[in-house]
């Protein structure tokens, strides 16, 4: 297991390193001079030269990349062009907000989705199964900005119109607000994200259950007279849910970027809204930082998925070990 974990960790570092090269080189294509962007059109040649010296833009690209990487790993993420503040605390605060939203989303969606998936799988071809699959296929089709706006109309404006307790329509909390304070603002965005994830996880759980029901050990258990519910709980589910665990970890990584649209619908101060803000202002260092943080988060989620899967399924670590 240790060897397997180390190999996975090495693989993760390699991936992050490669993507950091991509992120760095992609942002080198930006038309125009970075110093021109910072100082504005009227800047003189002298000021531009000084600025280039300052940012180390005279050095060859590989050197610039290594410097950037070293600064980044050291926590020195530089200053944002548009807000003129340090990037590191800004990104970390937004990351925390996005993580809160992601965790709440998983808490709602995973039990619900696994339940629906198991229900559909056990009743293959029956009405319940068909309803669940048509329902999930339709929900998958609704873009987050459509479901989000509909939920706001319903649970915020309509409820308020009828004088009932309603949820906030705008989730633009103070960025430094605590979890309890921001909870009411988190509910609608979390439900929106749940609708997106629900169908995905439910369908995979369903196919996992169907796969296991075909196995001979299930028939053996049935034939030796075990009650159906015991066959399901003790024999089918532990095996059927294995792939689902991987999927949940991967969806966590997916959530980091999936939340971009949702955060913008609700004006929630997370990483996704920061990214769109940075793109709007063409704020290069901020874009790089948010992208790298997202990639690391995505890769970590994948790593956790692999490790948990290997922990629960010895076949993986043995075959990969040899």
């Amino acid at each position: 297991m240790l060897g397997y974990s180390l190999r996975r960790l090495g693989f993760l570092l390699l991936t992050v390193l490669l993507t950091s090269v991509i992120i760095f080189s992609v942002t080198q294509w930006l038309p125009g001079d970075v110093c021109r962007i910072i100082l504005g059109r009227e800047a003189g040649e002298k000021a531009l030269d000084a600025c280039r010296q300052d940012l180390g833009l005279e050095a060859p690209l590989p050197v610039q990349y290594l410097r950037w990487l070293a600064d980044f790993s050291g926590g020195d993420w530089g200053q944002s062009f548009s807000t003129r503040t340090d990037i590191f605390p800004l990104v970390m605060q937004r990351l925390l907000n996005s993580l809160r939203l992601a965790v709440l989303t998983l808490l709602i969606s995973v039990p619900l989705a696994v339940g629906l998936g198991v229900l559909a799988g056990l009743n293959e071809g029956k009405l319940v199964d068909n309803l669940i699959s048509i329902g999930s296929l339709s929900v998958v089709g609704l873009p987050e900005f459509v479901t989000g706006i509909l939920l706001i109309q319903l649970f915020s404006f309509e409820l308020r119109r009828w004088g009932l307790p309603s949820l906030p329509a705008n989730s633009s909390i103070r960025p430094e607000a605590g979890f309890v304070e921001s909870l009411p603002s988190l509910i609608l965005p979390a439900i929106t994200a749940t609708l997106v994830l629900l169908a995905y996880i439910a369908r995979l759980t369903r196919s996992g259950v169907l796969e296991e029901m075909k196995q001979s050990y299930v028939r053996t258990a049935d034939l030796k007279g075990l009650p159906r519910h015991i066959v399901v709980v003790r024999h089918i589910l532990p095996n059927a849910l294995l792939p689902t665990i991987t999927v949940i970890a991967i969806s966590f990584g997916w959530l980091i970027s999936g939340l971009v649209v949702i955060e913008n619908v609700f004006n929630y101060p997370g990483l996704g809204r920061l990214l769109v803000f940075a793109i709007d202002r063409r704020d290069l260092p901020l874009m790089q930082a948010v992208a790298l943080v997202t990639v690391v988060g995505f890769a970590l989620a994948n790593l956790v998925a692999d490790l948990v899967y290997a922990l629960l399924n010895p076949r993986i670590r043995y075959t990969e070990g040899n």
């Binding site: 942002t27 706006i149 649209v261 940075a278 063409r282 997202t294 995505f298």
Partner: protein, 289 residues
């Protein structure tokens, strides 16, 4: 895929006849009908739209749906029905064009890389792996931040984001087919590389490719609309449905119709294409078992 024993042309013909089974599955039939309907509306749009997409009438701004303006008018007095209709062409052109380009590039790269193997294959796949380590939307946003927001940027982004995915899928089928007898026979007969790739191997890739194209297409529609909504994709005054929703949000209490009609159109289209893709999956995957 144990059934692939016939010569290449017959496999191609069987693929086409398989496609007809799309209408045997009710949900897929519904989805395909929706897609064809939207396609027809998109093609006819410029002729049947009663007003221009950006024809403004300040006197008639914020009007509720009526016989004059079926879907009402927005805050600038533009006819929402005409904009939704012309938007169908815009979104299908962008997402369809982007998908087709990505499928073409991905198929060519996947076929070559999988068939030739060796260090080139290794290099391409590692590069694609690290591209795919970035979540698709993140990569898209990053590229738009650099290219600047425009319809052409969105098209380029779709090609860059989807080509690696298609190439990987195609390559995996190529790897499973290239050691088979009919490929071996063609090679021994001294057929050219192009013949082997396109006449011998490609027909076996078609079913997988059809499913992948439909899935990418539905994501593509989603992506184009979402980028429009975020304001980093297609720019105003284009009748992009995502962009229309974004603009109409500001005046939702006065002109709810300007938001609900484009939002409904995008939802119906994506659900339709999803159901069609799901139908393709069912048709071709039952054969693989």
């Amino acid at each position: 895929m144990a059934t692939h024993t016939g010569a290449a042309p017959s496999r191609g013909r069987r693929f086409v006849s398989q496609l007809r089974r799309l209408y045997a599955v009710p949900t897929a039939a519904f989805g395909t009908t929706v897609f064809v309907l939207f396609l027809a509306l998109a093609l006819l749009g410029p002729w049947i739209a009663p007003y221009g997409a950006n024809q403004q009438d300040y006197q008639g701004a914020r009007m509720a749906p009526s016989s004059l303006h079926w879907f009402g008018t927005d805050h600038l007095g533009r006819d929402v029905f005409s904009r939704v209709l012309l938007g169908a062409g815009e979104i299908l052109w962008l997402s369809g064009g982007g998908t087709l380009l990505a499928v073409l590039c991905g198929t060519a790269i996947g076929l070559l890389s999988g068939y030739l193997g060796g260090w080139l294959d290794e290099l391409i796949m590692r590069l694609f792996d690290s591209l795919l380590a970035l979540p698709a939307l993140l990569l898209a946003l990053l590229m738009l931040g650099i290219l600047g927001a425009s319809a052409w940027s969105v098209l380029i982004v779709m090609v860059v984001v989807y080509t690696p995915i298609v190439a990987r899928v195609v390559r995996s089928v190529v790897l499973s087919v290239k050691t088979r007898g009919f490929v071996e026979a063609a090679r021994l007969q001294g057929e050219s590389l192009g013949w082997i790739l396109f006449r011998e191997i490609l027909p076996s890739v078609l079913p997988t490719l059809a499913v992948e194209t439909a899935v990418r297409f539905s994501y593509g529609i989603f992506l184009v609309a979402s980028l429009g909504f975020l304001g980093v994709g297609v720019q105003p005054p284009s009748p992009n449905w995502g962009l229309m929703v974004k603009e109409a949000r500001q005046t939702i209490s006065q002109t709810p119709w300007a938001l609900y009609y484009p939002a409904g159109a995008i939802s119906i289209l994506v659900i339709g294409v999803n159901l069609m893709a799901d139908g393709l999956k069912r048709i071709f995957q039952t054969r693989h078992d």
